[in-house]
């Protein structure tokens, strides 16, 4: 199996160099860029399996770059941020990032998160399962989501979240369960999950404005309407 390619974008050259070493040791190939614009060019030149990017960068900042990637791609994005405030994280997730790591971070943690994100991409890739429920069609192997005839582009994390909920309509999944399925042992905040649900709803509503199948069960979790 080919080594997964990670595109690492940060303006701190020393940091990029060291993280590259660690990633290479962990079995990844690494492509690097030192500002947002160069990062975008590298991305277009040869789409990586995953992008790690810093939030604040010269030229094009991380949020803008993430938004730009999301316009056409579902490639997992892990953000590096120096900001502790939750808003920044949520904003990053809102722009389409799959996960974030707060600086100063441990490379081990970063690698664990990269692996988890890649695992979500490969989840169900081998299965030929197709799920149809009231006009919504999910094809897990192709990661294809359609509302009626219209295709909705979901990232791996978003797809898996929707798949889990839609595969058992009426069942209430609590946040812990959902987070464990999606992130494994990695600790993520509940807000992260909420942001993902919001993103899925938003994308589906963009096609079908009346979509309200994803219900919030107050202080427990979520369920897909029976």
């Amino acid at each position: 199996m080919a080594k997964p390619k990670v595109l690492l974008i940060d303006d701190d050259r020393g940091l990029v160099d060291l993280v590259s070493i660690a990633l290479e040791d962990a079995g990844f190939t690494v492509d690097r860029a030192h500002d947002g614009k160069a990062g975008w060019d590298r991305f277009c030149a040869g789409p990586p399996d995953l992008v790690v990017l810093d939030l604040l960068m010269p030229e094009l900042d991380g949020l803008e770059l993430c938004r730009r990637i999301r316009e056409q791609h579902t490639t997992p994005v892990v953000m590096l941020t120096s900001r502790d405030d939750e808003m920044d994280k949520v904003l990053g997730l809102d722009m389409g990032a799959d996960d974030y790591v707060t600086k100063p971070f441990s490379t081990r943690e970063l690698i664990a998160r990269i692996r988890a994100a890649l695992r979500r991409v490969s989840m169900g890739a081998a299965s030929a399962e197709v799920l149809e429920i009231r006009g919504l069609r999910l094809d897990r192997s192709k990661r294809d989501v359609r509302v009626g005839e219209t295709r909705v582009m979901l990232t791996a994390t978003e797809f898996e979240l929707l798949w889990i909920l839609a595969s058992r309509p009426g069942h209430v999944f609590d946040r812990d369960t959902l987070m464990t399925v999606l992130y494994g042992e990695i600790v993520v905040s509940e807000r992260t999950l909420d942001t993902f649900v919001k993103r899925v709803r938003r994308k589906l509503r963009a096609v079908e404005p009346a979509f309200d199948e994803l219900e919030t069960v107050r202080s427990v979790g979520y369920r897909y309407k029976e």
Binding site: L15, I21, P58, P104
Partner: protein, 459 residues
């Protein structure tokens, strides 16, 4: 006084009516007059009693003074009224009686003689005395009890002065009350509001503005306090932001150090190349941190000293010449052409040392990015002097234009010594303390960057 007058008269009337009923019940014994019971009764009930025979002739009478209450026992409220209005009754009641028609011609007496009680108010001396008369047939039908009592009004004239004093006192009390209410409302409560606001601010560290829309000293005080609070809050927010920015800036080099430690610990192989890369990264991180901390201290000292530093008239020509000299003495700049375009000398009011530092920072930036020329051009516009620093380098890219004034944001070519990202922040602080500004010219020279330091010309 109409209210009291009415009340007093009503009281007199009711009293005399009930007394006459009591008297009528005692009846015969009183009429006989063989003892002093009538006298006692008269005294006790403060009423002047006369006993008339069937022809209306007085057969017996009590002391007329009983009718004005001076001899009788008086309840406390009557005494208070006495103090202001004077005691009841007129000393000349009998005198007055003389001008009245004879007994038998008086309407109330005639009525009583006919067998039914009769009563009447009389006003002997217009508006100064009221006397209530009540005549009742005696129980044996052989005569009349004739009772009278004076109402308060009688003595007003005598006690005019006290009355006026009372009015004055009352007026004073009322106005004192109004003044104290006004003082409370207009001076004490606003002060209390200001105090509350101050305490709330001290307690919570933040608070809403006091906002007293007044044009007096209290209004001024509230505005001054608001301004003080606003500045303190601004200062606190600034400090918070700068601290957060520094913390934020230090996290990247910290990550590098973290990653280095992990690599040193976890790497299966640690060859020379790897060791070299780790060492370089760590020393760059350390340099980054010390640069940031140093620049941060400079900025902090600047913030502290700028407002109090001695200011004077500063010649821009001298400043530029000084920066130019320093620039050319630096061997690192030997390949750069330094052009000064300052046809006329201008003066500004400020701290020479600081202004030189600001120009120096801008020139230093220009030198980092230029190909071969740095130009300083001094011009004026309206009442401002504009010191433009231009270079012939790549210019500031569109993506970075709105970032370059952010603290700790630094983009320098990889072959250049890295910057702290606070150079422009320092220029900004100096310009601001001089009432000026620093800006990136919208459309500078073709290609290169053009920063403009705008300061007010000295008068």
């Amino acid at each position: 006084m109409g209210l009291y007058d009415g009340w007093s008269r009503g009281r007199v009337q009711r009293d005399v009516q009930s007394i006459s009923t009591m008297l009528s019940a005692q009846g015969a014994r009183a009429q006989r007059g063989d003892d002093d019971s009538l006298d006692r009764f008269s005294r006790e009930h403060a009423v002047f009693i006369r006993v008339l025979d069937r022809h209306g002739a007085v057969v017996r009478q009590t002391d007329p003074r009983y009718g004005d209450g001076r001899v009788s026992r008086v309840p406390w409220f009557e005494r208070v009224a006495d103090f202001f209005y004077g005691p009841q009754g007129a000393p000349d009641l009998l005198e007055y009686e003389r001008v009245l028609p004879p007994m038998r011609e008086r309407a109330e007496v005639q009525q009583a003689l006919r067998g039914t009680p009769g009563e009447l108010w009389r006003r002997p001396d217009a508006a100064k005395m009221f006397v209530f008369y009540r005549a009742i047939p005696s129980p044996d039908g052989d005569g009349v009890f004739y009772l009278s009592r004076i109402s308060r009004r009688s003595m007003l004239a005598l006690y005019d002065l006290r009355y006026q004093l009372l009015k004055l006192t009352l007026a004073l009390v009322v106005s004192a009350l109004i003044v104290s209410l006004w003082v409370t409302r207009h001076i004490v409560s606003p002060l209390v509001r200001i105090q509350d606001a101050c305490r709330a601010y001290l307690k919570k560290g933040s608070g809403a503005p006091i906002v007293l829309a007044r044009r007096d000293e209290i209004g001024d005080l509230s505005r001054d306090l608001d301004e003080l609070t606003r500045r303190l809050q601004g200062w606190a927010a600034h400090t918070r932001q700068v601290t957060a920015d520094l913390a934020h800036d230090l996290k990247s080099p910290l990550s590098t150090i973290h990653a280095s430690a992990e690599l040193l610990r976890d790497s299966a192989m640690l060859d020379d190349d790897r060791r070299q890369r780790i060492a370089t990264a760590v020393s760059q991180a350390a340099a980054h941190m010390s640069r940031s901390v140093q620049a941060m201290l400079t900025l902090a000292r600047l913030d502290e000293s700028l407002p109090t530093e001695q200011r004077g008239v500063v010649s821009i020509g001298d400043l530029v010449a000084r920066v130019s000299r320093e620039f050319q003495q630096d061997p690192r700049n030997s390949h750069i052409r330094f052009v000064v375009d300052c046809p006329i000398d201008h003066a500004v009011f400020g701290v020479a040392e600081r202004l030189a530092q600001a120009i120096h920072n801008l020139v230093d930036n220009a030198a980092t990015f230029c190909r071969e020329t740095v130009t300083v051009r001094v011009t004026t516009a309206a009442s401002d002097v504009i010191i433009a620093i231009l270079d012939d380098g790549p210019g500031v890219s569109r993506g970075n234009r709105d970032k370059i004034f952010t603290r700790f944001f630094s983009v320098r070519p990889p072959d250049q010594e890295p910057g702290s990202g606070l150079g422009l922040a320092i220029v900004h602080a100096i310009a601001q303390a001089h009432g000026g500004r620093v800006e990136l010219a919208e459309d500078g020279e073709p290609g290169g960057a053009c920063f403009r330091l705008v300061l007010a010309l000295a008068d």
